[in-house]
Point group: C3
Chain length 441, copies 3
């Protein structure tokens, strides 16, 4: 009792003596170091797990003849992204950006963060390699977004080469503009966990890829009709959505970047709640929009609605009230659902709807930050969206085009009909499940 | 060495000076605050993940023609439950129950917990929103239990309306009786993580739904035979069980509600061990019962046995020895397995066995608490089971009946034969996997 | 500001006064206790989740007619392993090994760790039951490795009896040699998280089982050809690989066994990074080896390559630089891929490739430790590999042979053709998915 009284008393008194944080009833420096590192590790393994979520979502939404190929792409793109980010990307993004446009270029440079991690104990307040791990899995997320859009027709090798460039150069350069303390950060651009820096970037890269690749054969018929090509395994697509939702707690929560104080714990808890509510509101919103617009509730759209809600809240999950988070998620999901027929009218063939989810909702989420965050300005948010959008679009277009004229990016029509599993891997994803064909046209 | 000696010395001496907990070698107040909040967040994301577990379990146990529909129901019920609990439920359960029967009614009231979270740093010892997050995902668990039982024949919209009432009103009101410090808590009712408050509640709601809906067409033939309708994707059902087992560490472990002291760490660790052993014993027990009773080891029953073991230990995972936890899980699983033919004899059609798992084992687990917990009394446990069972049964019956006479709750016979996927969503879950039909009668 | 200065000042000064760790700016004893326990709990639930990974990997790689059976085996083996380890194994491994060969034998002995956990607060620096939980899920991993290799032809009951002996006796006895401070530990054998103690052990047990069981009917034809029997659900095999990768952060990270200091946080973070990079390099390496050796990138081999990378780094994830971790993982994956045709030439039928992944890469990883860890010696590593390999091979062979001559271990040819699902369980895993048969020969 006395003990409890003393502890509370110290809590009140010590800020008077020492400034904002009391020294001895507060978190000791080494404990804060552990908390901060632990946050990166927990957040990191949750975000790593999102790679499985993208894989399941995509494998559920492609046709069986491309299912093994999309699995292979997903595990390899994650692997390639991690290696490239280590080799080149990390230093480009974080080493000496200094309010500028690009960090340092050095191969293997990031290895120091491991070797020297112990020496950095005091300076950073967290294990350097825990931060590196967390940043690394973010890159993989960006790369994962692309694979779904360009599925069912892109060749494996050029896809992986694109991933090399995206994760080694494109993502880290623009990432440094904000998170590496580059020029956008100096301007005050707000993007808490990456509605723009991660999701829109993946979306722009996917969009350019989809346009340059062209639609799947038979998707848009000569008479202007759109042929629906249903996903082959909706339970796996649902599982993928749940995995992504689950992993997003790490994605947004650990983007607080610190757990060493009570204020951090509060902020992260608020982020968890708002992340969850935006996703829930997104799912409900998408279900209602499809019900009233198309007559039936659509499962795939509902899944994408939850994801669009998550993307929308990602730019600023720390400042909204719960009610505001619900609104942000609901609007983002509605926009994403409505963008799907729009893309189809433009004959942009997005197999899993990733452009609608990650680009459209990503832009919306970034624009919505000033609604609840007084430190953000709409003008700067627009500058950030345009600058990053412009850079990624131009860079991605160049890479896709170079790949197109050199190694070629698209399967032959025959291979596309046969399916990329047989054409590229020489096997089937489900060799014993008779292909009964869809009952839908 | 000296340092180590000093630290241990302080450990021993300081309780003498300060009372039970030493002030400066112990956990500082702010560190405890972070630990407590972190426990809620980790526990919360694990319980959120259980929503995916229920979804996979159920989609694996329904027939393919209802697989997409059950996925849609699962993601929407989670979303609806979160929103309703925020809007109304949280305050009903926690705000001013005061040894009584119901908390305060106020729409959006729970938003304060987010906005004001920072101000509550000292009082509560944890971030208010971390606790809210943890409580919110519990509601979703309750709602998830219902969907499996009433699958394959209930319409989407009335199911969601039932979820609205369950998560906004029925669950929170009875939840407040114990966890909101209501009358049952005053009496000394013991339910650590919700064998009764969560699992039985879902079970009673499912039972009333199954009775009012009636069995699936063809399930019980005129001559008294029972037609077995095998699950379509047992690997996914197995995955779902593993997800639930995994998530249950958060469900039971974080129900300790604090990680700010060594005693909490010990308690949570014991809870983890007992939770795991009860599940293991449940799986083995169910496998043996099916082997000796039906001649073959049954996979679905074994999965349900693991879950029944988990439900059984949930009321009191903190007090049993490991051997006792094994016993509690094994008995619970045996009871759940034996309840399945009993329900069939009563022509209560439970598609996934959720009534046996969550209601039967939930009651057993609640009754078993006094065996290892001296603070619990069998009489009070029975009062709690009856009071909550009575309330939920009556309230659920009213809601189901009102839905039946207004919007209707059941698919037409034609739609049921066609499957809810085509009837309600206009699509198929596995459009390319030829429906070869079961070889079983 | 002053506060920050004081905190840093104390950090620098206090080591001078107290030795290596400053007393009051450092982690208080009770906080360290919580951190240490929390590490075991988080690591433990991640490793438990690996059981689901093995299950999904294996169910994806067997044919549909054996899919339900492998699910049943996986959930039961986990359950049996936990119970046996509690009943007998834990004490054999940890109680009084004292530089010797075996701990104490006592049934139920481990229950003390629960009952007495509270009393052990000061001594151990962590909750005894948190450590027990972590050690228990490791045993289950060992048992999981065996089931994949011997799938599609072994009977359920003898498989489970083998699991009883493996998890109750074989694993704990050899585990005590190193982790129970037995003779190998005294010699200086280095195996951070169990490339040898866990993975090779599972591999040796699987190898002896595969030899004694013999290959599946039709696998090796009379004219020396090898009939490829493709996995039935590659998306689930991919999911299983992702689950294992995810869980491995707990497997390797929590094997640091402490999180109570900044140095621990750094070490664990380094382990996370190296674990991830070895897996990524393994996947890429296997993809490239299959591309250049067999002409096409193989999905199953790529999945196994990631796993082989993980197994390879497990013996020493704490000391390599990131670049070295990449090398260790890449070599391990290449060796595992190249071992597959070798085993086939010896007519050793390994359904999922577990011997290549866990035994071959496990040996490589153990041998690679001295490359980056100055405290390890190649000679001692070889002694450890041979001693454990010899012991497990002899013990497993005896058990398999005893089972063969008593209850019999192999399905009849008719049952094997029909599939273990129908033969042993009387059901089908996917009753509605027409078995169209593979298009591959």
């Amino acid at each position: 009792m006395l003990n409890k009284f003393l502890r509370y008393a110290c809590w009140f008194i010590s800020p008077v003596l020492f400034g904002s944080a009391p020294l001895w009833a507060s978190v000791p420096g080494e404990s804060a170091y552990i908390f901060n590192s632990l946050l990166f590790l927990i957040g990191g393994f949750l975000v790593m797990w999102m790679a499985a979520g993208f894989c399941m979502l995509e494998v559920g939404l492609v046709r069986t003849k491309n299912a093994a190929d999309i699995c292979l792409k997903n595990i390899l793109l994650y692997s390639v992204a991690c290696c490239m980010y280590f080799l080149i990307g990390y230093n480009l993004m974080y080493d000496g950006v200094d309010a500028g446009f690009i960090g340092s270029f050095s191969i293997w440079g990031a290895d120091d963060i491991n070797v020297l991690a112990e020496g950095a104990v005091i300076e950073g307040g967290y294990a350097a390699s825990s931060d590196f791990f967390f940043q690394m899995v973010f890159v993989a997320t960006t790369a994962s977004i692309v694979s779904g859009t360009v599925a069912e027709r892109i060749k494996l090798v050029p896809f992986l080469i694109f991933t090399v460039v995206l994760s080694g150069f494109i993502y880290p350069i623009q990432g440094g503009w904000k998170w590496g303390s580059g020029w956008l950060d100096t301007m005050g651009f707000a993007d808490f966990a990456g509605s723009t820096l991660v999701h829109s970037v993946g979306g722009w890269a996917a969009l350019t890829g989809a346009i340059i690749l062209g639609p799947r054969y038979g998707r848009y018929t000569a008479d202007g009709a759109i042929r629906f090509m249903p996903g082959s395994n909706l339970p796996l697509a649902t599982l993928g959505t749940f995995i992504l939702w689950f992993g997003w707690f790490g994605f947004n929560g650990a983007s607080q970047l610190a757990l060493g104080s009570a204020a951090d714990a509060v902020a992260i808890s608020n982020v968890f709640v708002n992340t969850n509510m935006a996703a829930a509101a997104g799912a409900i919103s998408a279900a209602m929009v499809t019900k009233f617009r198309f007559g039936k509730v659509d499962l795939t759209m509902t899944l994408n609605g939850a994801l669009a809600g998550l993307v929308s809240i990602t730019a600023g999950p720390d400042t909204p009230s719960i009610a505001a988070a619900i609104g942000i998620g609901a609007v983002g999901a509605a926009l994403a659902v409505l963008a799907v027929p729009l893309l189809d009218r433009l004959k942009i063939d997005d197999v899993v709807g990733a452009i609608s989810v990650h680009l459209v909702a990503g832009i919306w989420g970034t624009l919505a930050v000033p609604l609840t965050n007084g430190d953000a300005s709409l003008g700067v948010q627009i500058v950030g969206i345009l600058a990053i959008g412009g850079f990624v679009t131009i860079a991605s277009t160049l890479v896709w085009l170079m790949l197109k004229v050199t190694v070629g990016i698209r399967l032959s029509e025959e291979d596309e009909r046969k399916g990329s599993d047989l054409a590229e891997l020489g096997l089937e994803a489900y060799p014993e499940f008779g292909s009964g064909g869809s009952i839908l046209p």
